[in-house]
Subunit: 306 residues, 2 copies
């Protein structure tokens, strides 16, 4: 019984997401062949050495030849150049997708360059770790996480269904959404939390009267979870903010408005307002645990080391 | 070979911290007897039922009788009333400590009420989970975490050493610090991160165009770590902010200043500034992992559920 969905999958860019896709594709036997490429010769060498794909080639143009699924796994800012490069080499009827964290800007960067015979179905797996590079991937990354597809007008529903089955085969739950709405939802659940975490870590690093070693030693008191978020790949996050400007700035505006209200409650000693606010936020947490998107194990099941 | 350090330890308040202290005290055999009490009859009943302490009594006054160590494990706002209640009943030379998250205000609330024969040595274990109540405790909570002692002027160094040994017996690393400095360090590593997390979760909950169920489903993209922080006990956190006003507002001021600078970089499309900022914060993360205060396992070692 074969579960193969595509004959040849081409992964352009071999970072955390692509390398995890390679492992998960193999785990489930979803592709006849996995071809990979990266702009960096060093990355290609590592991928070769660890046998990440069936074949590693030097250019994106080469990689997409004969592939019925092409996934762009490069930073958002590099999508347009790759789209231009691969367009003339795409196989008849190939599905082109991506894993970019923003969708409106990525669609604008990719769609105009693709030939009419290609099926463009943008995607975004909501999964990641603080690590990057071809060695950081693992087959379980997408298990029980969500992947959002944002098909553009005129996309073939059958091609979308096939891509959905592929992501389900990788372990993910799949949703469809309008690109605009995706960018707003992600601004709330991901982009703004990241910017805020980066900011708080930056403030701590900058403070003369509290040493870095104090911040590090006492991080378990809450700060630690911010640092994990703030350790993500800088290139990826720069591109996210430059390309989801509108929604990010809108949510940040709301955030500072609320933060000022709470700051004022602290300054004036309004304990009731603080208590009510802190009580309301507990319910959301419960929902996340019930939805299976986190564990309520103490300390996340982190092991303590003596 | 006995590791007993105190004859009788009295725990006032039986929430997460006190119940974990009870378990850890027993694990290491640090006390001849553990006496516990809580203002709430329901909590006392549960503690009785699960055998949390050797003896559960109805009042704090009763609990401290004959105890050579008394630990106040009540919210910061309740410390003064407890101090007044226990003062006339403290045994000669008893050590009184607490586990409050702020130290300057707690010292001001407790110290004036204690008799001169008591040794007051304020403390703060930097450990917690999102759970509360007498059933939430576990013996490993303090293992390899830090407990900060902030001895006040005139404290007996021998009493401080004994309390330090007790906390080490509970599994913790122990540091000493000036109360002022403690409050500033904690504003950075804990209080401000909590307020910011509460705020972001509040914004998400409030946003009409993004449903709560979307926020919950897609939380793994970064938001999830904020919700854990924002699910902590509302009473405790209200009291923290009301009692560490000065340091919290100072750090929040710095935070909004930096956030505005990053917001401006997004608005003007200054990718270099964003990239540099995001690169700088990675180093702190590495320090935390090297210091053994976190794991770099993907997804914190959370198990994925299919």
């Amino acid at each position: 019984m074969s579960t193969q969905i595509y004959n040849r999958v081409a992964l352009i860019g071999l970072g955390l997401i692509a390398s995890s896709m390679a492992h998960a594709t193999r785990r489930a036997g979803l592709a006849g062949e996995i071809v990979g490429t990266s702009r960096s010769a060093e990355t290609r060498e590592i991928a070769q050495e660890i046998g990440l794909c069936d074949r590693i080639v030097d250019t994106a143009a080469e990689a997409v030849e004969g592939a019925d699924l092409v996934i762009l796994c490069v930073p958002v800012g590099a999508m347009e150049a790759v789209a231009k490069e691969i367009a003339p080499h795409l196989a008849e009827g190939a599905t082109v997708s991506d894993v970019g964290s923003v969708k409106k800007a990525v669609i604008a960067a990719i769609a105009p360059h693709l030939p009419p015979h290609a099926q463009f179905i943008p995607g975004h797996p909501l999964a990641g770790t603080e690590h990057s590079g071809p060695r950081s991937g693992f087959a379980e990354l997408f298990d029980n996480r969500w992947t959002i597809l944002t098909p553009v007008e005129g996309a073939d529903p059958q091609a979308t269904e096939k891509l959905r089955s592929y992501w389900e085969g990788l372990g993910a739950n799949v949703d469809e959404m309008e690109p605009d709405h995706h960018d707003l939802v992600l601004a709330v659940t991901s982009h703004c939390p990241h910017l805020i975490a980066y900011t708080m870590v930056g403030v701590a690093d900058d403070l003369r009267r509290v040493t870095d070693s104090e911040v590090i030693k006492y991080s378990a008191a809450g700060f630690r979870d911010f640092t994990r978020i703030a350790a993500s790949d800088p290139t990826m996050w720069r591109d996210v903010f430059l390309n989801n400007k509108e929604a990010t700035l809108e949510i940040l505006g709301r955030f500072t408005e609320e933060l000022f209200a709470l700051q004022r409650a602290i300054r004036t000693g309004d304990g009731d307002e603080l208590f009510d606010y802190f009580t309301r936020t507990r319910a959301i947490r419960r929902g996340i645990i019930e939805a299976g998107q986190d564990t309520d194990a103490p300390n996340f099941g982190r092991m303590s080391k003596k």
